[in-house]
């Protein structure tokens, strides 16, 4: 008898799946593109949260960023739709099946330029979605023109200077009704992962603006969305720690040093104070704070705003548990008597 060495047990998450089962197709984006790093964090977040991939639906508009849903969660349905219109498509899908976990990956051009109208209305509706804006300040896929999030005075490789003010999607998110708003940087693995997990646990619209440098068209001197600019100007609001609902480890909290935000599924976000004490549930202060820091050239990152109380649009529709898309004919076609009654009224 020969002894075969048993292979080391495969690492699995709490529902028994390996990280491999959260991967997608091979990326076709440029090496070093910030979008790829975000994809990696998305994979880790879903894996670590133990989400069933089949329950997830992935959406995007058009752009390099919008290609990303093909690179994670292969066993979730995905829809690479129309430039700037993923809010409508994902809203429709959530109406059809409110049990889905919807994630949208968009770009700054996709969201803040062509899609700004739909984006605004999605915010008002607070559709339960994880909405990620992979923000590089340019249109990557059409080779580097400015988008509407490009900062005033930013310079393209060709020397063209942007002389229009930027749209801040986080300000819009807080102003118009998103219920979890965060900004992060594709290079900050730890922070981004914690934010993504919080967004998965949140029941409502999460808007995540993630600065994601375009190595090919916007990573030069003069860009405000480059790796080196972010290294110098990124200022985390707090050190983030995400404690999932299924992990009941009590950690010693030093008095006054940490704020806790409880999320819908019982998970908790621990915000460890850095420079200042920041309360992400105070809407007006959050707005002021972002305005102030922007004028001093600082990119504040972290959880900017959380609202655990606002109802989602789907909550207002008086829907039952079964998704509308699965209702049988008996529920969706009124009977003969109803038609007879209507006809009698019209006689």
């Amino acid at each position: 008898m020969s002894t075969t060495a048993t292979p080391p047990p495969k690492k699995v998450n709490r529902i028994g799946l390996e990280v491999l089962q959260y991967r997608g197709g091979k990326t076709t984006l440029c090496a070093g593109c910030g979008h790829n790093a975000i994809t990696e964090r998305i994979i880790e977040a879903f894996y670590e949260m133990g989400v069933e991939p089949y329950k997830v639906a992935k959406f995007s508009g058009i752009g390099c960023s919008s290609k990303s849903p093909a690179y994670f969660l292969n066993s979730a349905h995905g829809f690479n739709s129309v430039h700037g219109r993923a809010p409508a498509v994902s809203t429709g899908a959530m109406l059809a099946n409110h049990n889905l976990i919807g994630i949208v990956v968009s770009g700054d051009g996709d969201t803040a330029s062509i899609g700004i109208g739909q984006f605004m209305h999605m915010l008002r509706r607070n559709i339960p979605l994880i909405y990620i804006i992979e923000n590089n300040g340019v249109y990557g896929l059409t080779k580097g023109q400015f988008s509407a999030t490009a900062d005033l005075g930013a310079r393209l490789k060709t020397g063209i200077v942007n002389d229009l003010p930027a749209i801040d999607t986080c300000l819009a998110g807080i102003e118009l009704g998103a219920t979890l708003v965060a900004r992060s940087f594709s290079g900050d693995k730890r922070q981004l992962l914690a934010i993504l997990k919080a967004a998965i646990a949140h029941k409502g619209l999460s808007v995540l603006d993630v600065i994601s440098p375009c190595t090919t068209f916007n990573d030069h001197e003069g860009s405000t969305k480059s790796y080196s600019y972010m290294k110098d100007h990124d200022e985390p609001l707090h050190e983030l720690d995400f404690v999932p609902f299924y992990q009941d480890i009590s950690v010693e909290i030093a008095e006054g040093e940490v704020r806790e935000v409880e999320l819908h599924d019982g998970s908790r976000l621990r915000l460890k104070k850095l420079e200042r004490d920041y309360d992400p549930t105070d809407r007006i202060r959050a707005l002021n704070f972002i305005h102030e820091s922007a004028s001093s050239g600082v990119v504040l990152t972290g959880i900017l705003y959380v609202d655990n109380k606002r109802k989602t649009f789907l909550d207002m529709l008086n829907l039952g548990d079964a998704p509308l898309g699965t209702l049988p004919e008996a529920k969706t076609r009124p009977d003969q008597r109803d038609l007879d009654l209507i006809m009698e009224e019209l006689r």
């Binding site: 991939p53 219109r85 409508a88 429709g92 509308l324 076609r333």
Partner: protein, 614 residues
């Protein structure tokens, strides 16, 4: 409407023909926002209740209050319910248009008017009935604020008396109109009707020939507008997601639908809604939500008009390429928004059939009546899901917003057909699937819905670049394969769209082809051609695009075929030209009208007569 200045009294000989029974049109000229709609509907309904075939057409401005509005009621013992060009009986309530309205009448017509307008000085070849509306309304309606609204009911009494409508029928129609909750208001209005009737009986000797007589042609029939009928079609087809952005003339379709869904689509056991209706921020979002909802398994629809169709163009192209069901109801109207948006037109036939970028083609269903609005709205969902593609239902303003007499709708016989959707159990049996593979030879692949609990269920949806198994591909062979399959799919659709209505006259050398509401003018025109010119004709009414083979056969039988279009650019003819070979196209001639009013038979007849050289 013309604005000719009238300077002198025109003199024509007064016609004194015999009685004209159940065959005339009444036009009521009012100001919009004056509440005349109720009085007009009551008048129309009371004629209907007397068993006489009737139609009502509202010609209204794109305005909320203060602009001229005309409502035309046609009674026709022959059952012709299209617009009649000539007005036989005018009720002139609008001082601004009264002179023009009177001058446009043919000799021998009757005019009921507000005494103070002194219209009788304009012509001496008409029958004038002056009525002191203000004097009559004051005693029946003490509350001055309401007089403007109640005043209109007086003409119901006057006209009712003059043409012989039974008062009990006006009473019944009026109380039905107000419903059980507004009995007080109904009584107030009924008093006004009576005041008008009494005044006419005492002061207006009958001199004109128009008169109604009881018939038995409307028993069991209903009165409904096409929009409400289409809304019912959607509800009984099991629609679950409805999105919209308000635009005349489609708005009332969704508003009717909301009313019906709230009554009939709340689950009786749970009290939960079995639908979602969302007012979107624009038509891009409306159709985007429909695409997303259908992709995720809902029966989803939106309704709009031409400008909305333009905005939906990009999404509809995606729907075609990515093969996603969608039902889009287009209530067509005249072009851009300022000017004639409240006038009717078959304005989107060509643009909608070919809507969007790349090689795209979409099925259109072409209802002509409330019954067809009901059945075709329902059929559109089955087609969309069966063939996984956007389907359009093409109403027009005339059909959608006007009240029509119709047969009561039949409960759908067929069960709902949701198309090729694989469940987790199917996948367990099959092991897997390829989204865009033509397994059955009809060009339609199988799809799965997000949320399906099977490892092989998921696939990735994108626009033009995909292979059979929905993998990303830019290979020319994959693209061509896919486009050819989409072509096959469009071919297989032909067996599932409603076939045209065909009337063959063996002796006819000419044929008439039309779709939608052109039907009423076409049918009456054939009668005019035969009776007045001895010209026999055959007839084909299209109910759908893609065209089926019956169309070619019909054209081949006739040496000259007149295609009737309610647009300038001969859109229906253009669509045929795209699809048919030269041997057919050379036989086609065009009859078109594009003035914004519902098409009338006389216009069609005159045009054909002139082209035939008769």
């Amino acid at each position: 409407m013309s604005t000719t200045e009238i300077t002198s009294v025109v003199s024509r000989s007064k016609e004194t023909a015999g009685d004209v029974v159940n065959d005339f049109s009444i036009q009521i000229a009012t100001v919009n926002g004056s509440g005349s709609q109720t009085a007009n509907n009551v008048l129309m309904r009371s004629i209907f209740q007397m068993g006489i075939p009737v139609s009502g057409k509202n010609l209204f401005p794109s305005n909320i209050a203060g602009l001229p509005t005309w409502f035309t009621i046609r009674a026709s013992k022959h059952g012709w319910i299209g617009r009649k060009k000539e007005i036989d009986f005018l009720v002139a309530m609008n001082p601004e248009t009264a002179r023009d309205d009177v001058m446009r009448l043919d000799a021998g017509a009757a005019v009921v008017y507000d005494e103070t307008l002194k219209l009788n000085t304009l012509r001496d070849d008409l029958h004038f009935y002056p009525v002191p509306f203000d004097k009559l309304v004051a005693p029946v309606c003490p509350e001055a604020k309401l007089r403007k609204l109640v005043r209109n009911m007086i003409y119901d009494g006057v006209v009712g008396h003059l043409i012989g409508i039974e008062m009990e029928e006006i009473h019944k129609a009026l109380f039905k109109q107000f419903g059980p909750k507004k009995v007080k208001a109904a009584e107030l209005n009924w008093n006004a009707v009576q005041a008008g009737r009494d005044y006419a009986a005492a002061n207006l000797p009958k001199t004109d020939p128009c008169r109604v007589e009881r018939m038995n042609e409307t028993a069991g029939k209903i009165i409904i507008d096409g929009n409400a009928a289409a809304a019912l079609g959607c509800m009984f087809a099991g629609v679950t997601v409805v999105t919209w952005y308000p635009i005349t003339p489609s708005t009332s379709l969704i508003e009717s639908l909301m009313g019906y869904m709230r009554r009939f689509r709340i689950d009786k056991e749970t009290g939960k809604a079995t639908f979602a209706i969302v007012q979107a921020e624009d038509e891009l979002a409306a159709v985007g939500m429909v695409i997303g909802a259908s992709w995720a398994g809902a029966r989803a629809m939106t309704a709009t008009s031409g400008p909305g169709i333009s905005l939906m163009s990009e999404f509809v192209g995606l729907g075609y390429y990515a093969e996603i069901p969608a039902v889009i109801i287009d209530v067509q109207r005249v072009g851009p928004s300022t000017g004639l948006p409240t006038r009717t037109m078959q304005g989107d036939l060509l643009s909608t059939a070919l809507l969007s970028h790349g090689d795209t083609r979409h099925p259109l269903l072409l209802p002509s009546s409330p019954e067809e609005c009901f059945t075709m709205a329902g059929a559109a969902f089955d087609l969309a899901e069966r063939f996984q593609t956007p389907v359009f239902v093409m109403l027009d303003l005339d059909l959608g917003m006007n009240n029509w007499m119709a047969d009561a709708f039949h409960y759908p016989e067929e069960p709902i057909h949701r198309g090729k959707v694989l469940t987790a159990e199917d996948l367990a049996r099959l092991g897997g699937f390829a989204r865009y593979k033509d397994v059955d030879g009809d060009g339609v692949g199988y799809r799965t819905l997000p949320g399906t609990n099977h490892p092989a269920a998921a696939y990735f949806t994108r626009g033009s670049g995909h292979n059979e198994s929905s993998g990303y591909s830019e290979r020319p062979e994959d693209y061509i394969n896919n486009m050819d399959r989409l072509d096959r799919k469009f071919e297989s659709l032909k067996e599932h769209v409603p076939a045209p209505e065909i009337v063959i006259d063996q002796r006819a050398s000419i044929g008439l082809i039309c779709c939608g509401t052109s039907r009423y003018a076409a049918e009456e025109s054939r009668d005019q051609l035969l009776r007045e010119y001895g010209v026999e004709s055959s007839y084909l009414r299209l109910k759908a695009y893609p065209f089926t083979n019956e169309l070619k056969d019909f054209i081949a039988r006739h040496s000259r075929v007149y295609v009737i279009d309610q647009n300038r650019d001969r859109q229906l003819l253009g669509l045929m030209r795209l699809d048919l070979d030269t041997q057919y196209v050379e036989r086609l001639r065009s009859v078109r009208y594009y003035g914004g009013l519902p098409l009338d038979a006389r216009t069609v007849t005159d045009d054909i007569v002139s082209q035939e050289g008769l």
